[in-house]
């Protein structure tokens, strides 16, 4: 096991280093595909080796030790950030990172660091297994997708200087860091991987090196470094309080009052990484990075590190003020971003709001903490990783074909890009229509909220009812745009044929994955997520998924309905699409309509964005303020009183 884990961490790092020197496109394609297959294979082998056993702990193989490696890595990260910040004349990031380095150096010199148990560096259980599989399989597919996407990306934006060697290097370095993060048990080790993912995200957001994206990149860096600093201070507090730095030990049950300050700071780190309010702005800025980056870092994996940590902390914080505050930050973030999402026109940003909202739900579950809610949280992680990853990739493909990310420009997509539409519909169905996606998770969450006593239970229900209705609105708008038709020219139809094989491979595999995850929800629940939830809270054995055959059938049909419909419809030719009602004016099948005073006008149909009722900017600021106040409470009251 330990050799496999070390391989998963080190191999992508080596490949990343190698890719930095590969300028030949064909060679890069070969390396990325092969290395991707190795990574995916290794992650599956790891999961199979683990089987369905209980949590295991282990150290480095063959008597290897960390030595001063952690400190050296910390200093290297610090130096790198300082150099980049000086280049761009930024001041906040170096302060944050140097404070972290100072803490690490202080701890090392003080000699207070507790004796490290070399056999407990890593922690592998079903949650880690889920994460490893997501990173290995979804991550690999996204890397392969990038091969095609980045080629077209640079063709369509010739002014951006291509730095694809760096891009692919970063993707693989990120995979390695992410593997390390999800299996770490020793907190200082986890911190290093944590900071590595922050750095990868920073560099990928700033990939195009325009003034705008550099600004967003530093915003992301600052917020995540703030979380990282919280993580460092948490370690400092634990060491000073003679506490263990072993995550599993810390979270084995309800935390004592002495542990609360450190746990609150770890929660801060989790909230920043999961882009919860008041830190949501960095994830929106991150949408300016190339789409595969959004798919990999900013929806499927890296932001999940934040909720992963909170799910780990859940048994320690559940039932305390700290846990309740964390839960409300998450749930209110879900409500606020869903409300902002209905006013957003940029499809990638809509997906970002939806991502932050889904993460908010998981944060809510982690903060409240019960076997049911852990089940919900892990379920959302799985569905969201596959479905949202797919959606980001599809939007990337559409963007390269239609040169737009604007939802309003996606209309009649079904006629123009029929296969892509089918894939998009699969992703959307996986996210919300259906079945066993997030809907079942939301349903189970509502059931659990009914049991939460006092005003909190009522508040959670109201938040959930409004939040999930709002998501119907923006998904509905996107569906309306995708599911509309007009006559298209031969040229327009040929556009879809220019999509690269890499993109098809990744997107179709992920679409199959979405359907597969939905179809096997029972197995996933019984074998993986359910036992994990019970192990986390040491609950009595129970079944979490109460599915009846009728529900199963209805939901599977509903989920497959739209993608299959899209595939079928794209072959139907005999419809007169000029036949629609336009108050008696003449119309053509491409949507041109005779104007009132002669001449012709193209019909443009625009979605509603609830202007005049919901002010997106205002709601976002209000959410930031409210959650900011809760965060302040979390870092004061949450630290002191249980």
């Amino acid at each position: 096991m330990s050799s496999l884990i070390v391989f998963l961490v080190v191999f992508p790092l080596v490949v990343g280093g190698l890719l930095l020197g590969v300028r030949n496109g064909k060679l890069r394609n070969v390396i990325v595909v092969l290395a991707g297959l190795v990574v995916a294979g290794a992650s599956v082998v790891t999961a199979v080796t683990f089987g369905n056993g209980n949590a295991i702990f282990f150290g480095l193989p063959n008597g290897l030790t960390l030595g001063q490696g952690l400190l050296a890595a910390e200093i290297a990260i610090g130096l790198f950030v300082v150099v980049v910040s000086i280049q761009h004349r930024r001041i906040l990031a170096p302060i944050l990172v140097l404070s972290q380095v100072a803490i690490s150096v202080y701890l090392e010199l003080s000699g207070k660091m507790p004796e490290l148990d070399p056999g407990r560096l890593f922690w592998f259980d079903r949650l880690a297994m889920v994460m490893v599989l997501i990173i290995g399989i979804v991550g690999t597919l996204i890397c392969i997708h990038s091969l095609g996407y980045m080629r077209d990306y640079h063709r369509s934006s010739p002014l951006i200087k291509g730095r694809r060697t760096v891009f692919f290097c970063l993707l693989f370095v990120f995979l390695g860091a992410m593997f390390g993060l999800v299996v770490s048990n020793y907190l200082p080790l986890m911190l290093i991987f944590w900071e590595m993912t922050t750095l990868c995200s920073f560099l990928l957001i700033g990939y195009t090196r325009t003034k705008e994206t550099i600004g967003y990149a530093f915003n992301a860096l600052n917020m995540n470094m703030l979380g990282g600093l919280g993580f460092s201070i948490a370690i400092l507090l634990l060491v000073n309080g003679n506490q263990s730095l072993d995550l599993a030990t810390l979270t084995s049950g309800p935390a004592s009052a002495a542990l609360l300050p450190a746990l609150a700071l770890l929660c801060l780190a989790g909230l920043t990484k999961a882009a919860q309010m008041p830190f949501s702005s960095w994830l929106l800025g991150a949408m300016y990075a190339p789409s595969p980056t959004s798919a990999l870092l900013h929806s499927s994996t890296m932001v999940k590190a934040g909720v992963f940590l909170l799910l780990r902390l859940s048994p320690a914080i559940a039932g305390s003020n700290l846990g309740t505050l964390v839960a409300f930050v998450g749930m209110l973030t879900f409500l606020f971003v869903s409300l902002v999402g209905v006013t957003e026109q940029n499809t990638k940003k809509v997906l970002a709001y939806s991502t932050i909202g889904s993460l908010g739900l998981i944060v809510g579950c982690a903060g409240l903490g019960s076997p049911e809610l852990i089940w919900v949280g892990v379920m959302i992680i799985i569905f969201h990783a596959v479905a949202k990853g797919l959606l980001f990739l599809v939007v990337g493909t559409i963007e390269n074909r239609l040169y737009s990310k604007d939802m309003e420009n996606f209309d009649t997509l079904l006629s123009r890009l029929p296969l892509v539409s089918a894939l998009a519909l699969t992703g959307i169905a996986g996210m919300f229509i259906a079945p066993f996606g997030v809907v079942v998770a939301k349903w189970t969450a509502i059931r659990a909220f009914l049991e939460v006593p006092g005003w909190q239970g009522a508040a959670l229900l109201v938040i959930m009812a409004f939040g999930s209705s709002l998501t119907i609105f923006y998904w509905g708008k996107l569906l309306i745009k995708v599911l509309s038709m007009r006559s298209v020219s031969e040229y327009e139809l040929s556009v879809e044929k220019r999509i690269t094989r890499f993109e098809w491979l990744a997107e179709i595999t992920l679409a199959v994955g979405v359907i597969g995850v939905a179809a096997f929800i029972g197995v996933i629940s019984e074998q993986v997520v359910g036992p994990q939830a019970l192990a986390t809270f040491k609950g009595a054995s129970q079944s979490f998924l109460h599915v009846e055959p009728v529900m199963l059938a209805t939901m599977i049909v509903a989920m497959l309905f739209l993608p299959l419909l899209a595939l079928w419809v794209s072959r139907q030719k005999h419809f007169d699409m000029s036949d629609f009602y336009a108050a008696g004016r003449p119309v053509t099948s491409t949507g041109v309509m005779g104007a009132a005073l002669g001449g012709a006008r193209t019909v443009t149909l625009r979605n509603y964005y609830l202007e005049g009722v919901v002010n997106g900017g205002l709601v976002f600021r209000a959410g930031t303020l409210v959650c900011g106040v809760l965060l302040a409470a979390l870092l004061t009251v949450g630290m002191v009183a249980r």
């Binding site: 709002l470 609105f473 569906l479 309306i480 509309s484 419909l565 509603y608």
Partner: protein, 285 residues
């Protein structure tokens, strides 16, 4: 009668259209009397439906029809699941999904009238869905049950504990029954600004599907009202009849509101009446 709930679910699929159609017939007669007309025969909606199903449908694209069949199927499934004993909160999600399919069918047409109707219907879903989730969650909370049969068999009377929710139901039902002033997405009167809104480009059997789905929807709403009067089903049906009569009266005496007002007022009612009621439920227990 202690029948298997699945039987009720199956019965719903067959009997709900009869119920909905008769209700539509009574509605038309009542409306006519309010306007000093005689009105059509009671069975007129069935004659209309028969004729619609026989007619050729003029279709402008190939997706509208499958989407409408999906709409009809999901609406029937919602009712069947509701009476068949499926978890009530899950039913709320399927109910919204059913409504969404109608939106998609109307939105797929390039007609500005149909599209505007679709968008407004989506707003209507957005306005009413929080209510239905909260209503069913509150009923589960009060009775401690999770299925339709469970609530009917519960010793706890629902309505006295949920007066705010029941009041809000009257408000939100106006939306679902497509009654003025909340009939923003469609209209039976061609003189209004949307012509006939989301059904502008539906004809023949397609319009028939919409009509039947609406009958199912009426029956689902009636079933919801019965949940409030869980100690006596006849009383529940009487309550529904009174409520429906009130809706017809409101329909005939108001003009259509703007969508902004519909959204704001429904949310406010849901938040204040339902939210307040739910809060009381959690605090007092």
């Amino acid at each position: 009668m202690n029948l298997n709930p699945v039987v009720y679910g199956v019965l719903f699929i067959f009997l709900a259209p009869v119920f909905g159609g008769l209700l539509a017939g009574i509605d038309r007669i009542t409306s006519a009397r309010m306007q000093s007309r005689v009105g059509p025969p009671l069975l007129q909606p069935f004659y209309d439906l028969g004729k619609l199903l026989q007619k050729d449908a003029r279709q402008v694209n190939p997706i509208a029809e499958p989407l409408l069949i999906g709409h009809l199927g999901l609406m029937a499934a919602t009712g069947a699941m509701l009476l068949g004993g499926t978890d009530l909160i899950f039913v709320a999600f399927v109910f919204a999904l059913a409504a969404l399919f109608l939106v998609l069918a109307a939105g797929s047409v390039n007609s500005p009238y149909s599209f505007a109707g679709a968008e407004r219907e989506l707003i209507v879903v957005l306005a009413s869905e929080p209510f239905f989730i909260l209503m069913l969650a509150a009923i589960c909370k009060v009775t401690g049950e999770s299925s339709y049969g469970g609530v009917l068999g519960s010793a706890v009377m629902v309505a006295p504990k949920l007066p705010g929710v029941l009041l809000a139901f009257m408000f939100v039902a106006t939306i679902k029954l497509r009654k003025s002033p909340f009939d923003i997405s469609t209209s039976h009167h061609a003189h209004q600004e949307l012509v006939s809104g989301l059904t502008s480009d539906m004809s023949g059997r397609l319009l028939g599907y919409v009509e039947m789905a609406h009958w199912y929807e009426s029956a689902i709403l009636a079933a919801f009202v019965v949940l409030f009067f869980n100690w006596s089903v006849p009383l529940g049906l009487v309550a529904f009849a009174i409520a429906y009569g009130a809706e017809v009266l409101v329909d005939n005496s108001t003009s259509r509101a703007k969508w902004q007002l519909v959204l704001r007022s429904t949310w406010a009612v849901t938040l204040l009446l339902v939210g307040g009621n739910v809060l009381a439920l959690f605090l007092i227990k």
